[in-house]
């Protein structure tokens, strides 16, 4: 069947009296990553994290002054002075009414009223692992799209220059800045510093960071309905995939950019396996002293390694899982992706098209989401 055309779904009631929608619960926990900044937001986030989702959602109607928990910008939430205003709200001059400044759902934490936006851009925080795309090359830095309101900066001084971590930056490096990263390249980096206006400065001074290759990119940011990447313990992991397709790396950028690629063994792993280093031209074996140099040799490569068909298929399946999670308003983290992947493999085995069918759109995505939420 090359095409499926569905009738539109009936509009979901905005807020039923006891409507504990699973989406609402996940939106609360997932939006933390997007909008949770500052002291109040963190405080807020802790509470909604500790509470089970149902408890949090039933709290919304408890705020009885509003029939709907969904508010639009400019909508007055309450004029009762007992409430304090939190994120996403403001008090207009000459009034005492707390007014929403974004479109989103009202959340209440003790006496604090805040509005969680339905869709928000990524707010960088120091230490976040992000996946970004170079959009501009300047004299001494790159501008990187990380899905934030502004482009992040990646200074030339914040990357591992080829030839060792301690090498001094020279004019030659400035002149050949495009040999490291050019427009369009994807990088995985860490937020090093924040400007006052919310702009971020990135760095790639770690062997785990650098240019991305051997895989596919998915952007799950900017999606409403509560899905998205959640800040979690592990944003990067390597997993074994089905069909004997080896291992696949998944990088979940906190900014909602996801990279799924074939796992390439690092020189350290190769050394453990007794193989010669990736930089065979060095002549010497890989040791702890020159490991950095050898890693950084492949750091700026834009040539893909040979990838088996099976691996490509499983990468596509993982991408489908991530998309299905997002489309069904579920959070995207290691646990969900791994579970979802195994579920998808099971589904493919059971389906008529056989295990090689990796399509997870639409109905199958819903089926997958239902299986995951039912667990």
């Amino acid at each position: 069947m090359p095409i499926t055309i569905l009738p539109p779904k009936p509009a979901r009631p905005l807020n039923t009296s006891h409507g504990a929608h699973p989406e609402d619960g996940s939106s609360l926990s997932s939006d933390e990553s997007d909008s949770g900044g500052g002291g109040v937001g963190l405080d807020d986030g802790d509470i909604s994290m500790n509470l089970p989702p149902t408890t949090t959602t039933t709290k919304n109607p408890a705020h009885s002054s509003h029939a709907h928990s969904l508010v639009t910008p400019g909508e007055s939430i309450t004029s009762d002075p007992q409430w304090m205003r939190g994120h996403g709200t403001y008090i207009a001059t000459d009034t005492t009414a707390i007014t929403s400044s974004v479109a989103g759902t009202i959340t209440r934490t003790n006496k604090l009223l805040s509005v969680r936006p339905l869709r928000a851009r990524y707010t960088p925080e120091v230490g976040d692992l992000v996946v970004g795309r170079i959009v501009e090359v300047q004299a001494k830095r790159w501008r990187v799209d990380v899905g934030s309101t502004q482009l992040a900066a990646l200074p030339l001084s914040a990357i591992n220059l080829p030839g060792g971590i301690l090498r001094k930056r020279t004019e030659t490096d400035e002149l050949q800045i495009r040999t490291f990263f050019a427009e369009g390249d994807l990088v995985v980096a860490e937020v090093q510093q924040l400007f006052g206006d919310g702009g971020a400065v990135l760095h790639t001074r770690s062997l785990r960071y650098g240019k991305l290759r051997n895989g596919v990119f998915v952007a799950v940011s900017g999606v409403g309905g509560g899905g998205g990447v959640v800040r979690s313990r592990r944003q990067v992991w390597t997993m074994d995939v089905a069909q004997g397709a080896g291992q696949v790396d998944v990088i979940l950028g906190v900014n909602g950019y996801v990279w799924i690629s074939k796992h390439v063994e690092t020189p350290a792993e190769l050394e453990a396996g007794g193989a010669t280093g990736a930089g065979a031209g060095a002549g010497a074996g890989v040791g702890i002293t020159n490991m950095e140099e050898i890693v950084s040799a492949t750091m700026y490569s834009s040539q893909n390694d040979p990838i088996e068909v099976e691996t490509m298929r499983e990468i596509a399946r993982l991408r489908g899982v991530v998309m299905a999670l997002v489309e069904n308003g579920l959070r995207v983290d290691e646990d969900m992706v791994v579970k979802g992947y195994h579920e998808a493999v099971e589904m493919a085995l059971a389906s008529a098209d056989g295990p090689e069918d990796v399509y997870l759109g639409d109905e199958r995505g819903q089926q997958l989401a239902a299986a995951l939420t039912g667990l």
Partner: protein, 402 residues
């Protein structure tokens, strides 16, 4: 030729995409089969003030609305036709004979259809928008069949305004979406039933329920055949985006897939049940008329073909490791100066070679035109009997015209 929008992808991504789409069968990033469309949500009759409207929403969030509005307009009489009109005016008593010989008199004009395309973030005179609107209207008007439906009598005709609005930002090349939405809107379009006869001022039935569809459904063709006597199960045209990567033909490509296309075509097809070959293809619109016998009795007719300039040609080429200064330099900088020299000197040759030779795993944008055989295969695949177009038309017909 206006190109589709530029996408920023890294050479490594492009190489990966191209490799996975070149496999047999291809592995598409979203796991679809080569002929599979993205699932979509469709409804009609959403705009109460229009004669017909439709909304289609793709799962990725791209959404389009089309409204069709009709008004009666006086046909400008050209001097030559004027005299004919006067001559035949005397013969108006013989009204019965008109239906029989009306084939020639029912003339449509391209100016009877006005189409506007709106895409957020783009000016309405942007080349991309203008190209889209030209492509969609040329599909409608290519064979003159559509405009002929708008004929009321020799003095009046319907003027049709098609407003096509893309609500979401264009996440993928919006042509298939807009075309499918337009198709649905035209399917749901109804025009008031004509009560007056002959060339008098048109007078219409007030009863909206009695208004016939502009494109009568095949099941109801016997009920409302007042407006169209020709080819009753003719459907509005659909324009499909088809692309080729290596030896694979892929339908409804997403933005990323289009970015590695070797060739991309917008093929407009309509289905007719009439077996008369109309060889009046307008050479200006680059249209070709072809007929293809088909299993279920549906004839697919090719209306027009446009090549879409795929953004792949503008993508930056990848740099092979052998030619990458940042790749080899690290090893040389660790104290082995001669070796660096050696690498530098060898690096020059691969740079030259990479322009012409393909290195596995390195992205190389397609150069030169698309091969004739590829273009032929693309068109052949679209017109295949019982193929994708049939299923798409069937699916669109299955949408409830509320």
């Amino acid at each position: 030729m206006a190109s589709s929008q530029h996408v920023l992808l890294s050479p490594a991504e492009l190489a990966y995409l191209h490799a996975s789409l070149s496999l047999i069968p291809p592995i598409r990033p979203d796991g679809r089969s080569p002929t599979q469309f993205r699932p979509l949500v469709a409804e009609t009759g959403i705009l109460p003030g229009t004669n017909g409207s439709a909304r289609i929403c793709f799962a990725d969030g791209t959404e389009a609305i089309v409204g069709v509005k009709a008004e009666v307009e006086r046909t400008a009489l050209r001097p030559g036709e004027d005299t004919i009109y006067l001559e035949e005016g005397g013969l108006e008593g013989g009204d019965d004979g008109e239906e029989g010989s009306s084939e020639d008199k029912r003339k449509g004009d391209a100016s009877w259809v006005e189409m506007t395309v709106e895409i957020p973030g783009l000016r309405d005179d942007d080349s991309g928008t203008a190209f889209l609107s030209a492509m969609l209207s040329e599909a409608l008007l290519a064979d003159g069949e559509f405009a002929r439906r708008l004929w009321i009598n020799r003095r009046f005709h319907w003027k049709l305004y098609l407003d096509i609005i893309l609500i979401s930002p264009p996440l993928s090349y919006p042509l298939p979406l807009l075309s499918l939405t337009t198709h649905l809107a035209l399917l749901s379009t109804r025009l008031p039933r004509l009560k007056s006869e002959g060339d008098e001022d048109p007078f219409f039935d007030d009863d909206w329920a009695a208004a016939p569809y502009l494109f009568p459904r095949s099941s109801e063709t016997s009920a409302h055949t007042t407006t169209s006597t020709t080819s009753t199960s003719t459907r509005p045209p659909i324009t499909l985006l088809v692309m080729a990567v290596a030896n694979n033909i892929i339908f409804d490509p997403s933005k990323e897939e289009l970015a590695v296309a070797d060739a991309a075509l917008a093929v407009s097809v309509t289905s007719t049940s009439s077996h008369t070959t109309t060889a009046d293809a307008d050479p200006i619109r680059q249209a070709q008329a072809q007929e293809q016998e088909e299993k279920e009795g549906r004839n697919l007719r090719l209306l027009s073909i446009r090549t879409i300039d795929p953004p792949s040609r503008l993508t930056p080429p990848g740099v092979a490791n052998a030619a990458n200064a940042a790749y080899g330099a690290s090893l040389g900088a660790s104290g082995q100066q001669p070796q660096q020299q050696q690498q530098k000197s060898t690096a020059v040759v691969p740079v030259m070679a990479s322009e012409t030779e393909a290195v596995e795993g390195v992205w190389r944008p397609p150069r030169g035109g698309a091969k004739r055989a590829v273009l032929g295969a693309l068109v052949q695949k679209v017109l295949e009997g019982g193929g994708v177009v049939d299923e798409v038309l069937d699916a669109l017909e299955g949408v409830d015209l509320g």
